[in-house]
């Protein structure tokens, strides 16, 4: 008799906890969005005074960032980030696409399964290690054979290209593999060589995925910080050549955050807002393209 009562109470407990958890899970689910919202709230709150005092257009197009005189314009950093990102993409996109093709169609099977973990490793290496190797190998080489001191857009682009490469390779590879077999067989049965099939049929079919990989790679490049500080020289100028030193948006944040105060503090957070919005837009476009491609 007693055991039935106990069983009944246990049953009741589980029923209540089930109902509780049914609603509690919603909170967990929303946690990411809440954090995103919190971050946006914070950086907008701290950055908003800068936009008001300086004016959004003046801030973005101003060419002087001078802490001593309280003048803040982020155009040099925007251009620095832009050049470095474009440079990185120029190197890593062709390299990445052809490596992806290599992995899906050209390499012997054993090599393929050896290369994939290797590419995964490239993703996991900390950015400071990339920066260190860039400092020790790349910068002296550029110093010797190029101009200037070696800390340059060129060095930063190359380092960034290696960091972005795995993203482009793996997403492109997935896109190519996702193209239906019928496309391949159809092309081959019409007498095309394998290369013609790859280049004229598979790649165009995988195009949305490839573009998505480029956009996501761009997002990664724009957001990179530590490796950049170590090889780019951090001068606040509009760079005039690939050998010129420059500064990225992320670099400014890392270097100046700890001591900023007043309008400087606001300006840094305003820079954070610009970064945040930029990456959000880029990533959204990239993800829409990734998920939107025909299955």
């Amino acid at each position: 008799m007693a055991s039935i009562i106990v069983a009944g109470r246990k049953r009741e407990f589980h029923r209540i906890s089930d109902s509780f958890w049914q609603y509690a899970v919603y909170i967990f689910g929303a946690s990411s969005f809440l954090i995103l919202f919190l971050i946006a709230l914070f950086i907008v709150r701290e950055g908003y005074p800068a936009f008001v005092k300086i004016g959004i257009w003046q801030f973005i197009s101003g060419t002087t960032w001078d802490v001593a005189d309280n003048i803040y314009g982020i155009l040099p950093m925007i251009i620095g980030t832009l050049y470095v990102t474009i440079g990185a993409l120029i190197i890593s996109v062709p390299l990445g696409i052809f490596t992806a093709i290599f992995l899906t169609d050209v390499a012997p099977i054993k090599l393929r399964s050896a290369m994939r973990p290797a590419i995964e490793l490239l993703v996991g290496i900390p950015s400071v290690v990339y920066g260190l190797v860039g400092m020790l190998i790349l910068v002296p080489i550029i110093q010797k054979f190029g101009q200037g001191s070696g800390d340059s857009i060129l060095a930063a682009s190359i380092v960034l290209a290696v960091m972005v490469l795995p993203t482009i390779v793996s997403i492109t590879e997935d896109s190519i593999l996702a193209v239906p077999r019928s496309y391949r067989e159809g092309a081959l049965s019409l007498g095309a060589t394998r290369w013609q099939m790859i280049w004229h049929v598979l790649i165009p079919a995988a195009r949305p995925g490839i573009i998505a990989s480029i956009i996501l790679g761009m997002g990664r490049a724009i957001g990179e910080t530590m490796a950049m500080i170590m090889v780019i020289g951090n001068s606040i100028i509009i760079p005039d050549s690939i050998f010129s030193s420059a500064r990225t948006l992320t670099g400014t944040l890392a270097l100046e955050l700890k001591y900023a105060a007043g309008l400087h503090w606001n300006a840094l957070f305003a820079t954070g807002v610009v970064l945040f919005v930029l990456i959000l837009i880029l990533n959204s476009i990239g993800l829409i393209m990734l998920h939107g491609r025909s299955k």
């Binding site: 689910g29 490596t99 090599l111 973990p117 290797a118 900390p126 400071v128 992320t250 700890k258 990456i279």
Partner: protein, 284 residues
């Protein structure tokens, strides 16, 4: 010579090989350079003493190792429950409505935010506003936000892969939905959850930018979550930029890369085991 499609193909094959080999070459150069130049500086003393500071970068990396370990544990404690909870929501309770789309948007967007923006947020909120100061706590709370999307994605996959039959069996035995989740589904998804843990550990080890502004960088052995501390990545940065001990920086790099190799290997091994577990006997 006529450029036949065959010729184009041979040419293209060449380019592909060059591309593939270049990618591998990058890896070999980076890992090779670090290992060849750094391994010489690794000694028992290096691994077991604290950094002593000074221009020559004397001492070892013990406190950096401790800092990294504490950071990993604390970040996991904070992020794992939230992440698994969100994964449970997405895998079990969500339907195709606006709320779910907002949730997914949150997860995907958070994944793309650069680490320095997290650092900005963490510095303003945890270090200054909440008064945690430069500490392991500030670092791990910031890092937990950063790692959340990874955990959610991986765990959601893991939970979704649990066969429906298991759930149905449990429910038909009279268990409530929540009981089913905690006693049947989650344990079955453990390999996937462990994978997400390993991925998070990898991310924590790799991160530098957001910790640069939230952890402080003291070279002393951390004694609590309020301690000012540094991680291996931060230590490498300080060595490289502020001392003449480049060889020690490289040695730290060796340790870091070794950790990443071990983590990657474990993830692969675990996913393979996971797949065979469910394809082998239809799930247990």
């Amino acid at each position: 010579m006529k450029i036949t499609p065959k010729v184009t193909q041979s040419f293209a094959w060449c380019i592909c090989w060059i591309a593939g080999m270049t990618t591998i070459a990058f890896l070999i150069i980076i890992v090779g350079y670090v290992f060849v130049n750094g391994i010489g500086s690794i000694s028992w003393e290096f691994l077991t003493t604290n950094p002593r500071g000074g221009l020559k970068g004397e001492g070892g990396i013990l406190s950096a190792i401790a800092g990294t370990v504490y950071l990993i544990i604390l970040t996991l404690i904070i992020a794992l429950p939230m992440g698994i909870g969100a994964a449970i929501y997405l895998a079990e309770y969500s339907s195709n409505n606006l709320f779910t789309r907002i949730v997914r948007f949150g997860v995907e967007s958070l994944a793309g935010i650069p680490s320095i923006v997290f650092g900005l947020f963490g510095f303003a909120l945890f270090v200054i506003a909440l008064g945690f100061n430069f500490s392991i706590l500030s670092g791990s709370m910031t890092l937990a936000c950063l790692c959340l999307p990874v955990i959610i994605r991986t765990c959601e996959e893991a939970i979704k892969t649990v066969p429906v039959t298991l759930r149905e069996a449990s429910l038909s035995l009279g268990a409530t939905r929540w009981q089913t989740i905690t006693n049947v589904v989650l344990p079955a998804a453990i390999p996937g959850i462990v994978t997400s843990i390993i991925l998070t550990v990898g991310r924590v080890v790799e991160e530098t930018a957001c910790l640069y502004v939230t952890m402080g960088g003291s070279s002393n052995m951390p004694t609590s979550i309020w301690s000012n501390a540094r991680t291996l990545s931060l230590h490498l940065y300080y060595l490289a930029m502020e001392t003449t001990a480049i060889n020690k920086a490289l040695a730290t790099g060796v340790i870091l890369i070794t950790i990443i190799i071990i983590l990657n290997f474990s993830t692969r091994w675990l996913s393979n085991r996971f797949i065979s577990l469910y394809q082998g006997n239809g799930g247990k």
